[in-house]
Symmetry: C2
Subunit: 404 residues, 2 copies
Amino acid sequence: MISVNEDYLKLRGSYLFSEIGKRVNAYAAAHPEKSIIRLGIGDVTRPLPPVVIDALHKAVDEMANEDTFRGYAPDLGYEFLRSAIAEWDYKKRGCDISPDEIFVSDGAKSDSGNIQEIFGRGCKVAVCDPVYPVYVDTNVMSGRAGTYIEETGMWDNIIYMPCTKDNGFAPCLPKEVPDLIYLCFPNNPTGATITKSELQKWVDYANKNGSVILYDAAYEAYITEEDVPHSIYECEGARECAIELHSFSKNAGFTGLRLGYTVIPKSLVRDGVMLHSLWARRHGTKYNGAPYIVQRAGEAIYSEEGQAQIKETVDYYMRNARIILKGLHGAGYEVSGGVNAPYIWMKTPFKLKSWDYFDSLLSQANVVGTPGVGFGPSGEGYFRLTAFGKYENTVMAINRIRSI
Amino acid sequence: MISVNEDYLKLRGSYLFSEIGKRVNAYAAAHPEKSIIRLGIGDVTRPLPPVVIDALHKAVDEMANEDTFRGYAPDLGYEFLRSAIAEWDYKKRGCDISPDEIFVSDGAKSDSGNIQEIFGRGCKVAVCDPVYPVYVDTNVMSGRAGTYIEETGMWDNIIYMPCTKDNGFAPCLPKEVPDLIYLCFPNNPTGATITKSELQKWVDYANKNGSVILYDAAYEAYITEEDVPHSIYECEGARECAIELHSFSKNAGFTGLRLGYTVIPKSLVRDGVMLHSLWARRHGTKYNGAPYIVQRAGEAIYSEEGQAQIKETVDYYMRNARIILKGLHGAGYEVSGGVNAPYIWMKTPFKLKSWDYFDSLLSQANVVGTPGVGFGPSGEGYFRLTAFGKYENTVMAINRIRSI
């Protein structure tokens, strides 16, 4: 008898950002005269850097000529890109990662959603609370989450690690030992981060207990402080316990171009199996590589000129972050994040629930943010604003919020 | 206790085309002076059509400007592309498919690998034998295949539908009713196809039994005969039982650009659930859209000029197909396919096993093909050649094969 994936049916409502999109579209349709400023979804607004544009045009021209045309890409990604990543993102930072430990993909969302698939369905998962919804939803879809408990807003087979004002929005080591630990620093959604010595504790904990850390470093380009690690492989022993996920979306503006990579060191072995070989098998069987032209675009940021250009973009967004932080703080709001991350985490005024604040901000200020509770129960009463808007819009949005 | 996905460990050796790649690379390294002609993997060799190149350049320029820059794409793909697909691939053929039943993706390999995920793990799967390995391997990875039986070369929980010389390489309706039926016409690897009235029997069978047909139409652009359907939705009742997978790889040369789409009619309901909504949820949670520039490239083939240009490419490859067919037939080989498909299915000479013939052809003629047994046990003693090579190489390859 045919059946559908029953784990899919357990999912709660729709994906957070789809729900936001629906509410914003409904409001916009009802009030076509209003100019809505979107600081909700973490989508970038700056155009692609010139080095990337040049690389794309050049690669497109190669595809027009039979002598330089490229068909299927190598399973793990082109050597030119993997070597550039190994050199610039790892070797220059003193991390020991070789090109063939790097898997190029169409982005960190796909990778962070698919990576759980190489693990057993019985693995116990720990996530920060609040958390990027993809980590939880994809484990729900694979049957690892258990049952959703309406009263708590939690899945009963997931270990939630609260990130609250009390712990500076950085989780404590869990008492019940998880098999898989999702960490994201600088953090989405809170914008918080941890120091290298704090991260070392997680690596030691994972190595002691046999856990695997799934480390999402999508926002590392936004780090401004010295003692904040850009990669988990800066920590000793991380090659034995950590998988790292990277994105080209937030540093180089590739949200619409799609490129990311995942690192699985060959020394990471669990259950007697190299995780690297399982992920290679998944890539080879269910994926066919990122577009050649996009891989050339990614390569372009790994040069002095490319790094200078992406720094310019990051600086643009971080100016927005300062405007949001200062503007809201000055108006008496409780805000954090925004120093090593493009996200600002604000407490809602008057103890409003996150979605109530979302609706009121949308209708009163025509500003879109992301309800904190959408990221998990500890996010209730919080609200995420992103620094990825245009400068003028960001200034206007903060003025509007201040004036209500 | 942490564990890895035990279903992954059941997989046999490496993915077929990775294995071929390894053997060819080993031979090439040992004999650097030899010129190897690759008619193995179904990768195209013609450059992208001019309309596609123009669309790419134009879209890249849009990404360079803040007013026209595009970030995250809509979940299902851009409206401009989905509308063009609905118009050209369906409405013009009298098929009733609306744009919002079309899901744009990074290619048919990903889609055909991921689509099983929306179904229950207990579903019984039927595949043609021989078959595109992705259908089987991804069901092995999801625990639906059972145990591999060394003696038969088959998984004991999969229904194999033999495609042999006796049935003209088109499967018979299975006696044991499957929940999921993978069909691919024109077929990879045999190049065979079926008429519309034959396909109608499959649609009727599925509707009668509640099965779902996963119809891979990746090669429809190669159809030359009148009574062969381009889409399963040309059959009555297919909206109630069929999902259709499409690729831009083989008609427009996008193997290195990555674009495909999947159609799930909203009227396709199983287990009380619209399959459309499950796939939408998967897209929204684990995927972030095909690149904007690539979606514009896809749109470009849907114009009179674009259609003329892709026809020119298809004609080029079909000339190769005729050369392979005629050349091998004239030399006494038993060959089929190659009339509505870019694949030629040949019986190995002297009853050689497929991999033995692969090795001997590689070393004696320096020609790479694909061992038929790599596609399933009924492929043993067969060999697949593709028409996707360059014309001159194809002529040379056939001359070399004829001369050994």
